[in-house]
């Protein structure tokens, strides 16, 4: 039923069939080509960081996407649909406007650290949900590090790969590669900005980032939010480490050991890190 085919006739039925067939073929081909062109453009324009986070966030279970305002008790139940981008979240702005939200507090260096099940998190810094933190320094830059729970999750570090000085890092984009004898972990950057200092020697490392002027730390947890979040994270860790068919099975009352991978070397630690560090 094509023009070169025996018995093809230039009548309405045959022409309609041809038009439909070629329209479908063109639409399908255009769709694929469009996807290829758009993905190449996006990669050239902004890299894959945002897509990586979008993709990872989409797959997070609702229990991991719990809104910070639920954790602080301001709302009974709310799941984040905004990729933890609180600065763009109208609900978050509403809570801030009330003036009572713990999210509006600032880090204070003189308050004691929050301690939950033996894990101590200082309150002088902002925390990302992927267990990195950002602390403002006197020179206006932010120091970036991994929190205590993250440190115990990783265990002894063999090497650290930091982005070179001058590199632009994006919030929630994979920024720090940590290698241990149990595998490779990727930590996400807590803020947008440019790396101004990066030094890694063996298992010790330090990184500073000059935050973009148009960016903010609105999405990072702070002060009174840290305790409830850490409690939830320890529960999440329990679920991650336990057999899915069994559910919660660890005895209550203990504290996480210094190096969890060394205590359970047969575990798939890359999977555990992926879960806890919100890796893609």
């Amino acid at each position: 039923m094509l023009p070169w085919v025996y018995e093809f006739q230039w009548n309405a039925f045959h022409i309609t069939f041809l038009l439909i067939f070629f329209t479908v073929a063109v639409v399908v081909a255009t769709t694929v080509v469009r996807a290829i062109v758009r993905s190449n453009r996006r990669l050239a324009r902004e890299g894959h960081a945002r897509v990586s986070w979008h993709s990872a966030f989409e797959e997070l279970p609702a229990s991991t996407r719990v809104c910070r305002h639920q954790m602080s008790g301001e709302v009974r139940q709310r799941t984040c649909v905004n990729e933890f981008a609180c600065a763009d979240c109208p609900e978050h702005q509403r809570y801030l406007a009330s003036g009572q939200s713990p999210s509006s507090s600032r880090p204070l260096s003189f308050t004691p650290a929050v301690t939950v099940s033996g894990i101590q998190l200082p309150t002088d810094r902002y925390y990302d949900r992927g267990h990195t933190w950002a602390r403002i320094e006197p020179d206006g830059t932010f120091s970036v590090g991994v929190d205590e729970l993250g440190r115990r999750l990783l265990g002894p570090v063999e090497s650290v790969e930091l982005p070179p000085i001058g590199t632009k890092v994006a919030t929630h984009a994979p920024a720090i590669r940590i290698t241990t004898k149990h595998g490779l972990a990727m930590l996400r950057s807590p803020i947008d900005g440019e790396v101004t200092y990066a030094c890694a020697e063996g298992d010790r490392w330090k990184m500073k980032v000059k935050m973009d002027p148009q960016s903010s730390v609105a999405h990072l947890l702070r002060g009174p939010e840290i305790g409830p979040w850490l409690t939830r994270e320890l529960e999440r860790l329990q679920m991650t480490l336990s057999d899915q068919k069994v559910g919660f099975s660890l005895a209550d009352g203990g504290v996480p050991v210094e190096s969890m991978p060394d205590a359970a070397p047969k575990k798939d630690w890359e999977a555990v890190w992926g879960e806890m560090f919100l890796e893609a």
């Binding site: 996006r42 890299g47 279970p61 999977a271």
Partner: protein, 410 residues
């Protein structure tokens, strides 16, 4: 051993156990491929079909799995175009099942048609008078669409996502899914219908011949509606089957109940039209062709029981079960009803394919019987094995059910 390829946060059985599961299926596939190869090399003399009984097990299988595979286009249409978000938890599985059903059907069709080196003839030298031409074009286009729809599911694999180009391509392609869902729905509408129309236009077979609405016989519309009823039910049955095999909850009840309700509505609509169609056929179409309808059911193998079984037990009963909220919300009843729907659609395709050809149309014709050869059965088995293997691999290495992590933790 393959833990780096398994989706993060999901637990799968050990690799040796997985191998033990897939090896028997791989064996069946190999046996089936041998049977299919014999048919392709030696010809259709390897089958028990002949010039009179030209459709057999393969065409029956084709019609049935294409109806079951309708879940892919229908779910995509409901989710991406009508925004039925409740169906998102099953969309990946629906795409994989659709791909299996359609690719399996086309493989079998290629063996049935034979002469694979001349496969391109069907596109280059199509028979402009054949409904199969429309079917061939539509099936090929839709299989292409399904393959493209499968790409984002495939690229969700843990290792592929580490490659930036693949990650971003998956993201961009996924955003264009509504377009593909629309094209898929359009194509499916026509090829499902044309497969039914194929029987309805057979004037020499009054058991199947039907009156036309416009240029399409009524079987055109009945096939579309019945496939739309079967697709969601097939998703319910396969999801429950995978859940029972893996001993896990993969999808929340809401998604399956929604599928059940949709299947129930479609089935009810289909039954209403089929009842009218059957009455017209009994009272006008068939007598008009010189064949009182009761004569078809005087053969011992195909009594009226088959009609009542199809419409009553496999039609009205599951429709009532699926339309009643009370029974639909009961897991056992939902699964039973979905199973009955599938049985009804499979029986309908059997009746149209086998019963149609078995019944004599001339006074000197005998009642024909047909038993498939082992090569036909082997090819049939190969398609089933291929489906199980592709689904098993997809389930193991791809996040087919987005709610799985959530449900495992609840």
């Amino acid at each position: 051993m393959d833990s780096q390829w398994i989706p993060r946060g999901l637990q799968r059985t050990s690799f040796p156990r997985f191998l033990a599961w897939i090896l028997p299926w791989a064996g069946l596939l190999a046996w089936g491929l041998f049977g299919a190869a014999l048919c392709l090399i030696e010809g259709l003399n390897q089958t028990n079909m002949d010039n009179r009984f030209a459709f057999g097990l393969w065409i029956y299988l084709d019609l049935t799995i294409i109806a079951f595979g309708a879940g892919a286009f229908f779910t995509g249409f409901l989710l991406y175009l009508l925004r039925r978000e409740a169906l998102r938890p099953v969309i990946n599985s629906a795409v994989v099942l659709g791909l299996i059903c359609y690719s399996g059907a086309i493989i079998v069709l290629m063996v049935d048609v034979g002469q694979p080196l001349r496969a391109w003839f069907t596109f280059w030298h199509p028979n402009t008078h054949s409904m199969l031409t429309e079917v061939t074009f539509c099936l090929t286009c839709y299989l292409t669409v399904l393959l493209i729809e499968y790409v984002p599911v495939l690229l969700k694999n843990r290792q592929f996502r580490r490659i930036p180009k693949m990650l971003v391509f998956e993201f961009e392609l996924h955003k264009l899914m509504p377009i593909l869902a629309g094209v898929g729905a359009f194509l499916s509408f026509f090829h499902q219908g044309s497969l039914g129309g194929l029987y309805g236009v057979m004037q020499g077979r009054p058991f199947a011949f039907r009156e036309a609405i416009g240029i399409w016989p009524t079987t055109f519309f009945l096939f579309i509606l019945s496939a739309m009823a079967a697709g969601p039910s097939f998703l319910i049955v396969t999801t429950r089957l995978v859940e029972s095999l893996t001993k896990k909850r993969l999808v929340d009840d809401r998604a399956l109940r929604t599928l059940g309700r949709i299947s129930g509505f479609m089935l009810a609509g289909y039954l209403a039209l089929k009842a009218i169609d059957t009455l017209v056929w009994i009272n006008a179409t068939s007598p008009g062709a010189g064949f009182p309808a009761y004569e078809y059911y005087e053969r011992a193998s195909f009594g009226t029981w088959i009609l009542f079984l199809e419409i009553g037990v496999f039609g009205v009963l599951p429709a009532l079960l699926l339309l009643s909220r009370h029974t639909r919300e009961h897991r056992g009843w939902l699964l039973t009803a979905a199973g009955l729907v599938l049985s009804g659609i499979a029986l309908n395709r059997f009746v149209l394919t086998i019963q149609t050809l078995a019944l004599p149309t001339l006074t000197f014709d005998p009642f024909l019987s047909y038993v498939p050869s082992w090569q036909e059965v082997a090819t049939f088995t190969a398609v089933v094995a291929y489906g199980v293997l592709l689904y098993s691999l997809s389930y193991r290495y791809l996040p087919l059910f987005p709610q799985e992590r959530e449900l495992a933790q609840s």
